[in-house]
């Protein structure tokens, strides 16, 4: 996405823009290039929405329609100039996307793509049935875009404008993905609930990418109306929406340039099939749908992640993200006072139907101490973690952090107060590098918005975030793996990366769920030393762990759970000798 493959892509796009300059390029290729550019804009938006953000939309063509119809009505009925309608078109599309997005992005799982099908169909019939939009005949006589005295009527002339727009879209999209908001969007795939634990407002991130994709589609619609000089409902229906999605998936829905590649492949194919099939076979006018359908299935079976990733492998690998360790450090919160009460858990229960997973549990954590939470499998340790971090809410009882009740707060508000965690089942985004994953942890410490990242006004803060992430990665001993994809880490390393990510939040209280599982002996010793240093700096830690040596040597205090009940609490030595604990673990001492 960055560096050399990106450069190659930009050169290709530049060529597409320059091609019409050459007088020998046939006219229909110029027209086709324009069409590819228009479709690319929509497909790039879909890449961000579907491939990166994990929200499948079949309804993007409707946003193209909003952009196109807005300018069509304003220029023909009210005599606006095309340039004046550009902001209005974008504003209309943006507002519609915001309104639809507010409803749609809350849909979970498969309901979301199904919802987009529903409004994709509905808007098509709406466009076709509103008299003000000209019904199914649409609106014609739309003026061309003019630059000064030059009207861009010739397809060669308008091609520059289209591909300039594509170029801008590619750069803006790359900028957005390579930023604080971009990392939040990339964490959305597969649910993204973990990101809430680092302060990411996932509903907002979804809305941002939804509106952004809608705006790109609206821009495409505005251009389309003035290139085509007429609009009618059919290019904005479900069929077109599906075709845009096919472009994104075929091209490589995880990559911005995949959108451009997909748009080009689909457009050229459609065009060539219509040209050649009738010549190859008699009466082959209806064969293009068959061949297109079969080729689509074959392409999916042969290259599931799309064409662009396959092409990309031919070129040099992307350069790793630059780390500037001289960037100023991010603000830190004051250290905990040693021994002062920090977390107070009082009579907390969690019931799932008839099952009581956590039953009237009370304990506390003080500043600068390590508390161990142990117990056999199914004792309620991970549920307790989820209650503390707002991933689940307690059925009864009270949780106070620095005196303030937090048991009714959502996960990201708890993260804001300085509680960070790791997960028993590793929750890293496999396609992002370790560095980018860890940087999600610093989400709350450098608040810089999507708009400034689009135009790279976020670079100073971004450098600070990345430097902080790199420092924490070094601290847990993963420096040599910093630029690898998180999905390629071994389990133990992935757990360390999770710790680095949690440290990036600059927590006052760090919750670690089985941090030593999957680590080798030497690595465990290093981890113990790290946790010991953190405690010395004043951080408090709550630790779920099955390795008893690790727990006994490291903790100041141990809480033992069994079947949701607290059965013992005290210093490590006392716990090791407690008959109740031995009973729970070993089934009774004869």
């Amino acid at each position: 996405m960055r560096a050399s493959p990106r450069l190659v892509g930009l050169v290709v796009i530049a060529l597409m823009a320059v091609a019409p300059l050459l007088p020998f390029t046939p006219d229909f290729w110029v027209t086709l290039a324009g069409y590819i550019g228009l479709a690319s804009l929509v497909a790039i938006g879909l890449v961000l929405l579907t491939g990166v953000g994990g929200m499948t939309s079949f309804g993007q063509a409707a946003f193209v329609g909003f952009g196109a119809y807005t300018t069509a009505v304003l220029t023909t009925t009210f005599g606006f100039s095309p340039w004046a309608t550009l902001p209005v078109s974008l504003l209309t599309t943006g507002l519609v996307a915001l309104a639809i997005g507010l409803v749609t992005v809350r849909l979970s799982g498969h309901f979301l793509p199904l919802g987009t099908i529903a409004w994709g169909i509905s808007f098509f019939y709406l466009f076709g049935n509103l008299a003000v939009l000209g019904g199914y005949d649409g609106i014609s006589g739309i003026p061309p875009i003019a630059i000064g005295p030059w009207a861009l009527i010739d397809s060669r002339a308008v091609d520059y404008l289209i591909w300039l727009a594509v170029l801008i879209a590619v750069v803006l999209s790359d900028n957005l993905l390579d930023s604080r908001m971009g990392r939040a969007i990339r964490a959305l795939r597969g649910g993204g609930a973990f990101a809430e634990s680092f302060g990411v407002d996932t509903a907002q991130a979804k809305l941002v990418v939804f509106v952004y994709a809608g705006l790109l589609a609206g821009l495409s619609g505005w251009l389309y109306a003035h290139v085509q000089r007429s609009v009618s409902p059919s290019p904005f229906g479900l069929g077109a929406g599906i075709e845009y999605l096919i472009m994104a998936v075929l091209g490589g829905s995880g990559y911005v340039l995949g959108g451009v590649v997909g748009a080009a492949v689909v457009a050229v194919f459609n065009d060539q099939l219509q040209n050649w099939l009738p010549k190859l076979m008699e009466g082959g006018g209806n064969l293009d749908a068959i061949v297109f359908g079969i080729l689509l299935i074959a392409a999916l079976q042969l290259a599931r992640s799309g064409l662009w990733p396959a092409l990309r492998k031919l070129g040099p690998p992307a350069a790793p993200k630059a780390v500037d360790l001289t960037a100023p450090p991010l603000p830190k919160r004051p250290a905990n006072a040693k021994g002062a009460p920090l977390l107070e858990v009082t009579g907390v229960s969690k019931r799932f139907g008839g099952l009581v997973a956590v039953n009237e549990v009370s304990f506390s954590v003080r500043g600068g101490e390590i508390v161990g939470l142990i117990g056999p499998n199914g004792a309620g340790k991970s549920t307790t973690f989820n209650l503390l971090t707002g991933v689940a809410s307690a059925s009864s009882g009270e949780i106070r952090f620095r005196g303030e009740r937090i048991d009714r707060l959502p996960a990201r508000k708890i993260a804001e107060r300085g509680i960070a965690r790791t997960f028993q089942h590793v929750r890293l985004v496999p396609g992002m590098t370790v560095l980018e994953n860890v940087a999600i942890g610093a989400h709350l410490r450098a608040r810089v918005g999507a708009l400034s990242s689009l135009v790279r006004l976020d670079r100073a803060r971004e450098a600070e975030i990345i430097a902080e992430a790199a420092r924490q990665i070094e601290r847990v001993g993963l420096a040599e793996h910093m630029h690898k994809a998180a999905g390629s880490l071994a389990l133990g390393q992935a757990r360390l990366a999770e710790i680095a990510r949690a440290l990036c939040l600059d927590p006052a209280l760090l919750l670690l769920d089985e941090p030593a599982a999957g680590l080798r002996f030497a690595e465990k010793k290093e981890l113990a030393a790290l946790l010991d240093r953190l405690r010395a700096e004043g951080m408090s830690l709550l630790l779920v762990e099955h390795d008893m040596d690790f727990v006994m040597q490291l903790t100041d205090h141990i809480v033992v759970l069994d079947f949701g009940l607290k059965i013992a609490e005290g210093a490590p030595k006392a716990i090791a000798e407690s008959p109740a604990v031995l009973e729970a673990y070993l089934g009774g001492v004869a």
Binding site: L107, G109, G191, L296, L300, Q301, R304
Partner: protein, 347 residues
């Protein structure tokens, strides 16, 4: 609005609703077993009606040739994948199922069809031609993608829809057909008269639903399908062949599609592309029922049929807008009822 009109609209709505119910239930079946959102379901409806129409005219239906083609393609893919190293028994199975059977069927059809053997034989032939296409379509399009994400499978289903629509146009032509009703005549119900065909539609729909119920509750294959729907890996671990259950699901989809075609064929003109919108409405019903519950899907389908006929009467231009927008509140309600999503494992 007079009660007569109301009754008339209700009859129309129930009729369409019954067919949507059949298709909706099939979509749920295919989705839960294979995770494929099978948008091409409607094509089987059109093919069923058009095959029936060809047989009534004493002609060899294009679907017979399509079946031979699909069978040969599937056999070729199997041979290529195995690089020629297939055990003799498997080879014999493939030859019998994918090559000999379709060829025998095309022979039988071209011999029987000109004799105009009567409706029951024609329906049997239609089913014999279309049911085997379900598993073949699965084998060719979806089996190689069995572990892909729902999105990829959906896009593949769109590819299948495009290819099947094109094939339908190629073998049946662009013109629509209407087939003879199963039952002639009308019966008076209160102030209106109801076509006997409508009674037949309801009876057949009821019978199909009842046999599906028995199939899922009482037979081992039906239970294997349900097990696969609940947990693919778990079903595999207890010895269910997931590819086999998927083939069965697609055979049912093709069969129920063909039956729906035979049912609506006398009520409306069916062309090669009629199926898609009919299928989509079954799909709306399936979505309202959360792609999970069969009885709810059937109920929702009836409701959609009624909504469609009443909105066709009051605001015909906005009929489709109304029918398709009705999903949104249901989707919202389902999303909220499901609560905050946990991290879904990436497929």
């Amino acid at each position: 609005m007079s009660p007569t009109i109301l009754l008339f609209l209700a009859q129309d709505g129930v009729m369409n609703g019954a067919v949507y119910a059949l298709l909706g239930v099939t979509l749920v079946l295919v989705f839960t077993v294979t995770r494929v959102i099978f948008v091409a379901q409607g094509e089987f409806v059109a093919w069923g009606a058009l095959t029936m129409a060809a047989l009534e005219n004493g002609a060899l239906p294009g679907t017979a040739k399509l079946l031979v083609g699909l069978g040969l393609a599937a056999a070729a893919v199997d041979l290529l994948r195995a690089r020629g190293r297939l055990p003799a028994r498997r080879l014999a199975l493939i030859a019998a199922r994918d090559v000999v059977f379709p060829l025998a069927l095309i022979g039988l059809t071209s011999w029987v069809a000109p004799q105009k053997p009567g409706m029951s034989v024609e329906i049997a032939l239609t089913l014999a031609l279309i049911v085997p296409m379900g598993p073949l379509v699965y084998r060719l399009a979806f089996q190689p993608l069995a572990d892909a994400s729902v999105l990829i499978l959906f896009i593949a289903a769109i590819g299948v829809h495009l290819a099947m629509t094109g094939l339908g146009l190629a073998v049946f032509g662009a013109e629509g057909s209407r087939i003879a009703p199963m039952l002639e005549g009308v019966v008076p119900v209160g102030p209106i008269v109801v076509k006997m065909q409508s009674v037949a539609v309801l009876a057949v729909t009821g019978a199909v639903m009842a046999s599906l119920f028995v199939f899922f509750e009482r037979t081992l294959i039906g239970k294997a399908l349900r097990a696969t729907a609940v947990n693919r890996l778990g079903a595999r671990l207890v010895g269910v062949r997931v590819d086999g259950t998927a083939r069965t699901a697609f055979a049912l989809a093709a069969g129920i599609g063909a039956v729906s075609g035979v049912l609506i064929g006398p009520l409306t003109t069916v062309a090669y592309d009629t199926g898609f919108l009919v299928g989509l409405k079954g799909f709306v019903a399936a979505i309202i029922a959360g792609l999970a519950s069969y009885p709810l899907t059937a109920l929702a389908a009836l409701a959609i049929g009624l909504l469609e006929s009443t909105s066709a009467f009051f605001a015909s231009a906005f009929k489709e807008v109304i029918v398709f927008s009705i999903i949104i509140p249901f989707l919202l309600w389902r999303s909220y009822a499901a609560g905050a999503p946990a991290d879904e494992e990436e497929e």
